[in-house]
Symmetry: C4
Subunit: 258 residues, 4 copies
């Protein structure tokens, strides 16, 4: 049985032993940019799962894995002990809330986890949809503490006059908004993206900023490769459109659209 | 007055005296496949009603019976003491939740009942809509414990690479997902079906698998008969479509579409 | 400040001193049939307001009266001490719940009031929309206790094989459904109506049945007059349609459509 | 972390030391009339912020300021100690509730604040959309206490036979409705407006009434200037429509439409 917002600690924060870690959030959203980056970190770093989070605010269903085993919608937090970089607490997962109120309840839970682990800073990751294909994605920022702006600028983040004009919707925005009330200096890093498809190239841009901010090194090869596949796919689509020859891509090529 | 989720025990689990029963869930859903099977079991076996469940998550209305007496939306649990088969706890009913959160709250309640009765395994039943008429329906499975896969395969269940790709929505999925957290090995059995109409033929396929799994014998005659009526009806519809002669079926023939 | 469901007793049930009253419910619904009847009773009988009910499940707004004074959405219960008839508890009001769950929460509150006043029977009133204009409206019934059927038949109520087939939605249905769990024999009386407009003629049919059931006499003149105005209006509309001359009715004539 | 409805007092009411203040509410709504007036008062008067209010009923997002710093959706209450006018408590903010139930929960919170500060009267401000451009906006009123009508009439407020016919939706209506239950005499002042755009001219009309009611003087120059800009803009739009020459306005001119 799971509670409305159900945070299950697999290990107590004091047992995990992180020192004032930096929290990274990368949940599904525009272009899946944040999710791609955070999932990539979990895959590349030597992490340990410390929290599982279930909620009535996730879709009422299970997913079925390749092996026929089902999986409840859940989000997860991974711990990483840094060498040259600060310790990290990485929040990843399948879904954001499907209700408005749920967004607030889940963001509260994420902040509670941050506080339990004595997080010193939070970076939330996302995409910034601009409605057209973009050759060279870059990263724009928003902060909950003006003193962070210079730090981010030095790492290559742009600040553009109140952009995004529509605000930052969902977990990436609410988390740094709530963190302001808790005095945790935090920023949202948004990779520019078309908004039409999963965008590993934008994710790579965000990851590179994040590595500079964290003094962290991870291979970006995997994202680069997926970005290249993506470009080939886009090129093919353009060709098809020009030739007006209907032609269907294999399931494999299309997985980026999911 | 009824609570948000209101589980009324007609008899205490220890009085019912089932021994580590297997729970069967068959609520309304795609092709009403699960409901047809579970209702059929309740009708054919010598069962005893042990739980009634009301909820604010059901539609706010009553149904009116043939005799003019109203009926609140409710789900029910029946107990069956097995001879050669294990004892059973069969969950049937009129509705699933009409809200997202309600699905979770109701699934929690079903799991609570399962635990109160010390259920040893759960089979949830449903349909798997494939969008076209199907001559020979078969049964695909999903489990919450990999060790169940061989058991199910031996009973004729197919496992198809992460199908259903869209996941399993509602009670049939959530129950086995939540059962995983409670360490109750469970599976979802889905009869392939068009998804366009009530499908007793698919239900029969699911029932046959279930009988093998439970070492249980019940007549399938009733489902076969309804399947035949259904086939006649489909044949007539096809004919009508080909002849393009508008012709209306009697109310009786159309009851399958409800 | 008002609670989610806020029942304000103006007088304690024991002070009101009704003896096992019959509860009458007439809230807005199909053709406003139930509301017309219950409002008419409150107007014609010598009643006393005993309960006001506010709720977050009503629309978040106030209405503005002719005098410029606002009015919160609320329902009300009136007490009537009978002479030859039983005592009555009449539930009237502006709205039903605007959420699904709210319907259940409000119905619970109505039942609580019924129990506080030791209600012996409940009649809920409504319309039964049949989709076409109807010359001679009649009353169909649904009960929560089979023994009531003969009583109702004697008063002129018809029972039609499981009608309404779609069930009875909202307060009129839920109240008698919940009353079944509390062992209060109850019935829903539905006047047949087109479903397209407010229908005082159907209301009159329901009122006449109710008067026979309660051994109560009230003038029906007011409903008859409104029914006649309505007929004139319908006649005019038909004429206009036939003549195909666009012509607009005064505000006064159209008030029935609200 | 913020509660479902989270009222954060920056200073205790007894420390603020207002004497039976008048509460003014001006939240976003039709033509943003109420918001324009209340924001103007906060800007022009020597006020002190005393309450911040966050809620799960606001949109789940943050806004991004010109400086790149995010802002959680919140409403605020400002205190003003009057000279010749009564003390004021001014409720302003970014949003109303985005759910029906939330409107009631927030209105309850506003009333709680009013009672904590021993408010003697409440004026809620809004627009009354009439669907066409209006040369000379005027102010219509609705009250929760008939004795206020003469006071308002003397200040230039009109009362029009049960207008607005559709009631007053949201905070402006609910607050005075709930205040009636708390015996706080209150009125809603609505500036007539087209309903199509932000309307500083209508706001000026409301402000002038309010100044008379409160014996308060503030410059209306700012609203007049914005009203003139608006009129130029409308004139330009009309010209463009007549000339049918597509022509785009600068961002600056269009800010009124937001």
């Amino acid at each position: 049985m799971i509670q409305r917002v159900d945070v299950k600690y697999l290990k107590k924060p004091e047992e995990v032993g992180l020192e004032n870690p930096v929290m990274i959030e990368g949940l599904p959203g525009i272009g899946h940019v944040g999710k791609l980056v955070a999932d990539h970190l979990v895959k590349m770093l030597d992490v340990e799962k410390v929290v599982e989070l279930y909620s009535h605010h996730f879709p009422p269903q299970v997913m079925v894995g390749e092996n026929g085993v089902v999986k409840l919608p859940k989000n997860e937090v991974y711990a990483y002990k840094g060498d040259n970089s600060p310790d990290l607490l990485i929040l990843v997962g399948d879904y954001q809330s499907i209700s408005n109120e749920g967004h607030y309840e889940l963001a509260n839970a994420y902040l509670k986890i941050a506080k339990d682990f004595k997080v010193s800073r939070i970076y939330t990751l996302g995409g910034y949809g601009i409605g057209k294909l973009i050759e060279e994605p870059y990263v724009i920022g928003a902060v909950n503490d003006e003193s962070l702006i210079d730090v981010l600028r030095d790492a290559g983040v742009k600040f553009e006059n109140g952009e995004p004009a529509g605000g930052i919707i969902g977990a990436a925005g609410l988390i740094i908004g709530l963190a302001m009330l808790e005095n945790i200096p935090s920023a949202c890093l948004m990779g520019t993206t078309s908004g039409y498809m999963v965008d590993p190239k934008s994710a790579k841009a965000v990851l590179e900023v994040l590595m500079r901010l964290l003094n962290l090194e991870v291979s970006v090869e995997d994202l680069e490769e997926r970005a290249k596949e993506m470009e080939r796919l886009i090129a093919q689509i353009k060709e098809m459109q020009e030739a007006q020859i209907p032609q269907f891509k294999s399931d494999d090529d299309l997985r980026y659209f999911r």
